[in-house]
């Protein structure tokens, strides 16, 4: 079933995926300057991997982002987000205090501005990218394994 995918789709997805990935990273990193932010950035990054998953199959996608990496990305993003909040207690005494902006204010409209907002955006992007890719991956694993009684085919009974 790997061979019935069209050559054009495989080729074009190979060229498109890096750019989609880059755009997602850009959305997350420049979320404090332009429209975007962690959540859309993370979803776009996940979309790049989902494109590979759908166009070139499961092994190609897993060679780009192994299952363990996606899992750790999800958990690390959540931990980083929480860690920033706890660091706010340690430095400024308030949960989620923007301590970088207090002590090291950047020039507005430059990239280094906004303090912890950049870190939080990156953390959310990691989390969302990992988790959305994982959900899509699990759904497609169930489909490929084709075991009748689980997955989508169970919808047929209703």
């Amino acid at each position: 079933m790997e061979d019935n995918r069209s050559l054009i789709i495989k080729r074009v997805s190979r060229w498109m995926a890096p750019f989609i990935f880059l755009y997602g990273v850009y959305l997350a990193l420049y979320g404090h300057l332009s429209p975007g932010g962690g959540f859309p950035g993370g979803v776009v990054v996940a979309a790049a991997f989902i494109l590979i998953l759908l166009a070139r199959g499961e092994p190609a996608a897993l060679s780009k982002i192994p299952y363990a990496v996606a899992k750790e990305l999800d958990a690390l993003g959540a931990l980083l987000f929480l860690g920033v909040g706890l660091a706010g207690i340690g430095v400024s005494g308030v949960f989620f205090a923007n301590f970088i902006q207090e002590f090291l204010p950047g020039q507005p409209l430059e990239w280094f501005s906004g303090g912890t907002i950049i870190i939080n955006n990156v953390a959310i992007a990691m989390k969302v990218a990992g988790s959305i890719f994982l959900v899509l991956y699990f759904l497609s694993v169930l489909r490929i394994s084709g075991e009748g009684e689980v997955g989508f085919s169970s919808l047929e009974e209703k």
Binding site: P35, V43, G115, I117, V135, L139, E147, V150
Partner: protein, 171 residues
């Protein structure tokens, strides 16, 4: 958008219902863009694409099911009654509301939004005010949201991996 939503509800083919649902999503994304909320529009487009891909894929696996069933009139009657009931209330409350698109702070001088807009750049250094609200002033909301996503994904993976584990250990 409303037409597409009605089509999605009443069409017979599952696949065309999914596609009509996609039209609703892209229409709402365009609406966000017209209301000058590009952050929301980007998110809506991306999530819509992924959801559409997922739903179409699911539909292909399930195959085309035609919905069938007897026409029942009691639900329609109840729905009509509810719509009439709500419309009377909404009609009177719309008369009290400000014109569509008027900022809240023009009516209430001490609304928090004016504080966010005036002091946001000093206090957070973020040029995008949406981010300064999401990730600084109202970050507890974002923390709760992240927790919701984390829990939802955890639950989804727990349910879905029951048969998938074999493939995971191999690859």
């Amino acid at each position: 958008m409303i037409i597409a939503a009605v089509v999605a509800l009443y069409t017979e083919e599952l696949l065309s219902a999914v596609i009509a649902l996609g039209a609703v999503g892209f229409g709402s994304s365009g609406t966000f863009l017209l209301l000058r909320a590009p952050d929301l529009a980007i998110t809506q487009v991306v999530v819509e694409v992924i959801t559409l891909v997922l739903l179409i894929r699911a539909t292909m696996v399930v195959g085309s099911i035609k919905t069938e069933g007897r026409q029942r009139y009691l639900p329609y009657f109840l729905a009509l009654l509810a719509v009439l009931f709500l419309t009377t209330f909404v009609f009177f409350s719309f008369a009290e509301m400000p014109q569509f698109g008027t900022p809240v702070m023009e009516r209430f001088e001490d609304a928090p939004s004016i504080y966010y807009l005036l002091r946001g750049l000093d206090l957070t250094g973020s040029a995008n005010q949406v981010m300064s609200v999401l990730l600084d002033f109202r970050i507890y909301d974002t923390l709760g949201e992240a927790t919701v996503i984390f829990t939802a994904v955890l639950g989804a993976l727990t349910l879905l991996r029951m048969r998938g584990r074999k493939q995971l250990d191999g690859g």
